[in-house]
Symmetry: C2
Subunit: 207 residues, 2 copies
């Protein structure tokens, strides 16, 4: 498979869905390698040799060089395409939302989903205090998104960008983390807008 990208990925992970979706939108061929994070495979020596951080996704470029961090992949793959703004300030806002996603959104909404719905070893084990903390942090993040999306179609400027892809990944399955999106009509309309883009594929899509 020389000459194509390889993505080490867990199918149910929103972080892994981000580069899958963008590569599909861009028509980039890639090979998917499923990694079983449930069994600790990402912290074993063979995988840590590929990614010392022991996380998925991991992208291997056609020349064999490696890149981790899902949002770094979005910026790399999206560079010079319609999905990363050309304007310097809009590109900065795009970066702003990507860091927001990893700091405010993913650690609450994705982590709640992983404990309540995804990881068999965690289901039923979250404490009421953990759930309350995820609810507080996740609803704060959703509130910040709603402020923008109540009056705008997209997170940055007038177009669908990698910022939307990054935040769509876990927002569209926030219900699986116990979040009620009812109070966020701007987010609701935006989720439908993303899903109706030409070439959109769902979380369970495989190349």
């Amino acid at each position: 498979m020389a000459g194509t990208y390889t993505l080490y990925s867990m199918q149910s992970s929103g972080n892994c869905y981000k580069p899958r979706l963008l590569m599909h939108l861009l028509g980039i061929d890639f090979r998917l390698v499923d990694v079983d994070t449930f069994s600790g495979e990402t912290r074993r020596a063979e995988y840590m040799a590929l990614n010392p951080n022991g996380r998925v996704p991991l992208l291997v470029l056609p020349d064999g060089r490696r890149l981790s961090e899902s949002n770094a992949m979005l910026l790399y793959l999206g560079e010079q395409t319609r999905y990363v703004p050309n304007d310097r300030y809009e590109r900065a806002l795009c970066h702003q939302w990507l860091f927001f996603e990893q700091y405010e959104h993913e650690p609450t909404i994705a982590v709640a989903r992983s404990w309540l719905k995804i990881y068999p070893s965690r289901i039923g084990k979250a404490t009421p205090e953990q759930i309350a903390a995820w609810q507080k942090g996740g609803n704060h993040a959703l509130g910040v998104m709603e402020k923008r999306l109540a009056g705008n179609d997209w997170l940055v400027g007038a177009n669908y960008t990698v910022a939307d892809i990054a935040l769509y990944a876990y927002t569209h399955v926030a219900g699986e983390g116990g979040f009620d999106l009812g109070p966020y009509p701007g987010i609701g309309a935006w989720l439908a807008r993303v899903a109706s883009q030409p070439g959109h594929v769902a979380l369970d899509w495989r190349p």
Copy 2:
């Protein structure tokens, strides 16, 4: 003060130190507005109107437009300078380290420091379980950095970049979060290398 940057900042925050240090290195004039996060000032209506996420730092550009997220500021201010790589893959690795910093490093090392040393209302209130979790997560992050820095002067390529600035911010005060850097000689040498760069200023520097 039209025509200059304004940084809303808490002096002891590593996240706020990042843009201060880079603007000093680049010779960019800016005005500092101290924000008292201890008293909840960042979550009051006046501040939330500036930054809906209620966090510092916040950068106001000379034309009045606003940018949040410290690492987005580093990329914005550093663009087309020696501190952001020109090479596409090196720039992607730079992004990779910036996301790693916000996801793996800051939530453990900076948060431990904030509870153990910085926030008067938190000092003495961390539970042994919290401290153990910060130690585990923070030492994982330091281990990933050490793998790179044991054999390389800088995190990306052959030069000092915004990736080094972002990770220096809280690594050089990791001791205040209870972390022992003794087992990480590569990190130790790199900290000294950063601090010896021409134009370097310390965390407590003000314009």
